[in-house]
Symmetry: C2
Amino acid sequence: MPESAVQVGIVGMGTVGAGVARVLVESADRMASRAGRPVVLKRAVVRDLERDRGVTLPAGILTDDVAAIINDPEIELAIHLVGGLEPARQIMVDLLKSGKDVVTANKALLCEHGPELFGLARELGRTIAFEAAVAGGIPIIATMATCLTANQILSITAILNGTSNFILSQMDREGWSYADALKKAQELGFAEADPTFDVDGTDAAQKLVLLTQLGFGMRVPLETFPRSGINRLELADLRCADMFDCVVKLLATAKLAGGKLELHVQPTLVPKTSPLASIHGSFNAIRVVGDVVGETWYSGQGAGQSPTASAVLADLIDSVIGRTRLTFYRLAPWQDTARLPLQSEDDAEARFYLRLHVEDRPNVLAEICDALGRNSISIASVIQEEAAEPEETGGTSDSTRSEETPVVPLVIMTHKTTVGRIRAAEARFAELGSVRPGHCRMPVADL
Amino acid sequence: MPESAVQVGIVGMGTVGAGVARVLVESADRMASRAGRPVVLKRAVVRDLERDRGVTLPAGILTDDVAAIINDPEIELAIHLVGGLEPARQIMVDLLKSGKDVVTANKALLCEHGPELFGLARELGRTIAFEAAVAGGIPIIATMATCLTANQILSITAILNGTSNFILSQMDREGWSYADALKKAQELGFAEADPTFDVDGTDAAQKLVLLTQLGFGMRVPLETFPRSGINRLELADLRCADMFDCVVKLLATAKLAGGKLELHVQPTLVPKTSPLASIHGSFNAIRVVGDVVGETWYSGQGAGQSPTASAVLADLIDSVIGRTRLTFYRLAPWQDTARLPLQSEDDAEARFYLRLHVEDRPNVLAEICDALGRNSISIASVIQEEAAEPEETGGTSDSTRSEETPVVPLVIMTHKTTVGRIRAAEARFAELGSVRPGHCRMPVADL
């Protein structure tokens, strides 16, 4: 080796940390060959020194004191795998201040405190690499930051939450309920014990903030754009989507629309002819359109020990050989220089899927069509199913209620319109006695 | 701008060159912002000074003398877009010797003379970047060379020739003949006037050589692995593939199989459930499996003016900011260090599709099954169609011949076996009077 070894420390030995440590220890020759010098894991900080992590480390590496890395000047590079906001933020600040370059997988931290942390790194002459923060093993950060540099990005459309995609796949392909699919995702380790951020769209929205920063040069705070998750979808919606030759996916979208930036995370009908429709299970996928390159697609495991470790280690090698420094200071992918106005949610255009619960009596369809027509919404197709016979209703929620007017699902596909018009029609539905509360609305992806 | 402008020259103003020139001239601000300094197109070498290229360049840029770039010490970077082997090779040598870093899109040149050219660049302290040489706008070179560095690559499976994929898509989806689809591809500019290298698998094989070098660290000469193209496929084969829920794609494959490297380019049945099956028209797609990252996918326009220009310009920016130098000298993606034995073609394993032309008489199926069985080939399914009635035969080539025993197509899907066993069975078929010459054999992709 022409140069001396580089010493690294890992802060946070959860699933990903253990995966990174395993490659560093078990594939040391490969890492040395790629990085041009040995990469030695000197310390790894854990909360519980006794827990088995499925990887055998040489004695003296594990510690429960993060100061063992921060105060060790021989450790040049820190792999920051602490989740959440605090103490993750403080630890990263301390690592940077102690002169270490940092590789992180924490998208929530960069989404919330990116400007502060990137700014601090710059001030101190340090770097932060974050390939692992979005879409696991898919090299989407490198692609956006360094491979599509000749482009004005026009749109990003992505499946960024593997837990939601796994749940939707199981519901769609196996006919499972949302609750059963979520339980299975937790058993398999895809979903956290508290899966709220996965299923309510927050996790995907945090990743979208980072991709938007890379693609459009603009930091859009999480709370300024709409997000919804899969936690209110019913199996019936997936079955209705199928009737329109679509599948339901939780899509994160950032796109230029008439000079404005449109951002949202929401369950969306994806035509089966789109490659996004064939992204199953815990896979992620990202479609990026640039004004020069046209349409490009990226897919792979969006989470998990090994895929995320692959991304962390690619950043580690890039940091060792100096590419990260050039990326961070010359391409400056974290810069917040564009000043695009955000499009108002009401102005977002799409075809829409609506599933209403309506009374099964004469004139109801006419009332609904009138409510849509008054708002200039044109109907592409309507599916109205007959009320199930009382003895066949079983456990379905859409069935008749005894002693009342039967209620049936009415599914409408509109032509292209705006969210604002749909909302105006929905306000009118609320005034109609014939439409029950609690309908489902999803846009159809234009892919 | 903190630094002075970088002056660049383009050698070869064909489709891609004109696309690169357009972005340099029309999006100069964007390029300056990304590269950190103005990128100025100083000279562009053309063969015909009069031809309209659809882009307006300032006066004095066009020249028909490559020496105008080679002998201009102010030009630091040369964009080499000369096709073929000579004079493309000599021009690149001259550019490197005159002290310029080079960005090229010429895969045939790097496939044939890569070691010589990369070696010369190293000796002279120069760099060669070649993102545009494989798969147009898809950043697969950067991905393999710099993003999956923590991995031992296990397999590369790819659609790398847009012309072939366009022809197959039109045959499959529109029912066009091979000849009609090829003609349309030429009209649309996908296919060259002489499309031989596109349709016989050579173009895809050249790209596979480059991807194999990046993925496995080993240069495998073009002539040492089997390649076949789509030029002998019949519409009937695509229809039969459909019966097995597959589509036919021209796949380029490099994979580790039992410690050996298996390489080939060949028409292949791809199950419709695979994302590769949904790659239509002139799109390319690459599936890369690494031991750490698992399965990853990349897709986009595989050729054409703008997508390829996007790749050239990304390399240009990387060269200006110094990332290319680190990649070229530290990651050294062109290195030829691995010494994996090549797997013999006979040992390649797959399920196989066979379409035979057999006489429609008793005992023929038994003879064929016997020939397969003697070679330990197990049959998964058989489709034998009835001979068409004479008055219905129309123009199909599989129909009966007057005055002879009727000939019918017999389609067989085998279980997993080897090419060697299939070949032994084929030798036996040739001895049977009941099997006519000219059958079709394709493997089924294990995706």
